[in-house]
């Protein structure tokens, strides 16, 4: 080994020693006898344990989940927006059914499963008005959320495109006094 190589090796070794002497206590936590936040222990333990149950950070409300997240475009997506009035909701459902009638000259009717299937493409032209898994048609009526009031269809004339929408109101029960009944067309007599 030449002289300059010996000097270089000794320098590197000395540097590493000094680095350990100065930073070592910083990398050990106070609990472990060091002066720092305990990086050694954290490395050894893997991911952190997170805040405890009483941690105030947990009391800060997080952002509301977006009801439309991940949904393909659909005329019923707007129906899921929070804060709509029953009238606005029935307007959206009514427009969907009018679109259905304009395309097919009939209206979906029967059991809710048959209605849902017809809207999802089981119709004469195989037109998909609402994706089969759309949350607005998941239960027994059009609902903006699982526990929200429902909108039921009452078909008066499928071939004539006239129907009623019954918003079942706070009691979640159609055909009761707290319902909102909308006629399509407005001057429908039945």
């Amino acid at each position: 080994m030449k002289r300059h190589q010996v000097i270089l090796s000794a320098g590197v070794g000395l540097g590493l020693l000094l680095l350990f002497l100065f930073l070592g206590p910083e990398m050990r936590s106070v609990r472990d006898g060091g002066w720092g936040p305990g990086i050694f222990r954290k490395w050894a333990q893997g991911p952190g344990q997170g805040p405890g149950p009483g941690d105030p950070i947990l009391k800060i409300p997080g952002p509301s989940p977006d009801p439309l997240a991940g949904l393909p475009p659909s005329p019923l997506n707007a129906f899921l927006q929070p804060g709509l009035t029953p009238r606005q909701q029935t307007d959206i459902v009514g427009q969907l059914l009018l679109d259905y009638w304009n395309n097919l000259h009939t209206l979906p009717s029967g059991t809710w499963e048959e209605t849902r299937a017809a809207l999802a493409g089981a119709n004469a032209k195989r037109l998909v008005f609402v994706e089969p898994g759309h949350p607005a048609i998941a239960r027994d009526a059009f609902r903006a959320a699982a526990d929200a009031s429902g909108i039921h269809i009452h078909v008066i004339s499928a071939s004539g495109g006239s129907f009623q929408l019954i918003y079942d109101g706070p009691d979640r029960q159609p055909f009761t006094e707290d319902d909102l009944i909308r006629n399509f067309p407005d001057d429908l007599e039945f």
Binding site: V155, S157, Q173, P174, F175
Partner: protein
Amino acid sequence: MNPLPCPGLLTRRQFLGASACSGMGTAGLLHTILALRGLNAQTIDSLPADAPYKALVCVFHYGGNDSNNLLIPRAASAHQKYLANRTVIGLPLSGILPLDSLNDSGLELGLHGSMSGCQALYNQGNLALLANLGTLIAPITLADYRNRTAAIPDNLFSHSDQQIAWQTSASSMNAAYNQTGWGGRLAESLMEGQERQSISMLISLSGTNFFQVGKTMLPFRPGPGGTPTFKLGQSSRSQDVTRYAAFRSILDAEHANLMEDAFSDLSNKSIIEADTINAALQGTGSFPTLPNTDLGNQLRTVAKFIQAAGPLGMRRQIFFVSNGGYDLHGDFIAPHAQLLGGVSGALKGFYDALASIGMTNAVTTFTASDFNRTYDSNGRGSDHGWGGHYMVMGGAVRGRRIYGSYPDPDILAGNNPLDTGRGRWVPTLGVDPYAATLAKWFGLPGSRMRDVFPNIGNFDPDIGFMNA
């Protein structure tokens, strides 16, 4: 000078040849048309000269009658299933009237507790029930319905579409038929058998309907007490008499305009018909057995027309009456009992009225409705269904019997062979054979059945509930 040759023009020889051929062909075609018209005239004149008077009366329940509560299982186990499925709209055993006979499967069935009038008619043999009947194009199974492997009536579960399907006995597959009703077509088929053709064979006591619309015939629509009077002609004031005479002379005049001519002709006929009918109705009874309800009063007027049929020269008449309010999605038990009680009282009163003038064997009354309703409840009432139960009443009815098969009253098990969902029954009897059985009794020959019922070839045309 020779004419210039013109391509495409015939020579005289060609023209004469073509004319001769065309003449011969036309003569054959004309002869065939004339022969067919003669044949048609012969078939139209189908009623024998001495054919006795007959009338059909359609009682239409608008809104979809829940006939699951009209004809109800009474046997203990079946009634338990009925209650378990119908929940809040089920009737207790004590609220079901017994019938004297079982159905064809040996099942004990009963009538709604408010229908004592119909119960009496049934047990006397003057009323029959038809179980699970509905609009069909051809017989169909549940699998056919689910897989769409058979023709299904258009727009099931839709009020007006199913009313039209009932009344026209046609679907979009029968384009030539779906603008007319089977009552209208039946009347037109038998029109030549009528002595007086100025008065329509079709009479509606309940406004316009599809049932009585024919290709050329329309129903006569009198008011509740008979015919609407032409007020000007009834007044004795000299001024009105002069006006009336002037009006009639205007109507009698010839008009150059076709519309004016047609209007005058129609107005004249209406005035003459009204005068004739008013005169004939004056001597008819008041029929106190009929209740003073809307339906009762409609049937009272029908009884008056039937009593006046002889003086009016009518040998066949088809009446239409109706009541509504059956679309009971919400509050159910009390309103439905009131409706069925009203129908029962009116039918019994009508039968007794006909008995008082000796016409029970000449008149057959039948019920119809948009559809039956769901067997399960929506929590308060019931929703739109399909196959249901109906009544036929009259002296010519083979009564005290329930025709057709009653659905298994259990839809909770999940394998009910007639349940399309929520107890919407696939009908096992069609409207077509129901109507065709009535039409056959009315005098429609078998050769003309298809003219009135386009799909009758798909069914056995006679259910057998009418005597010959």
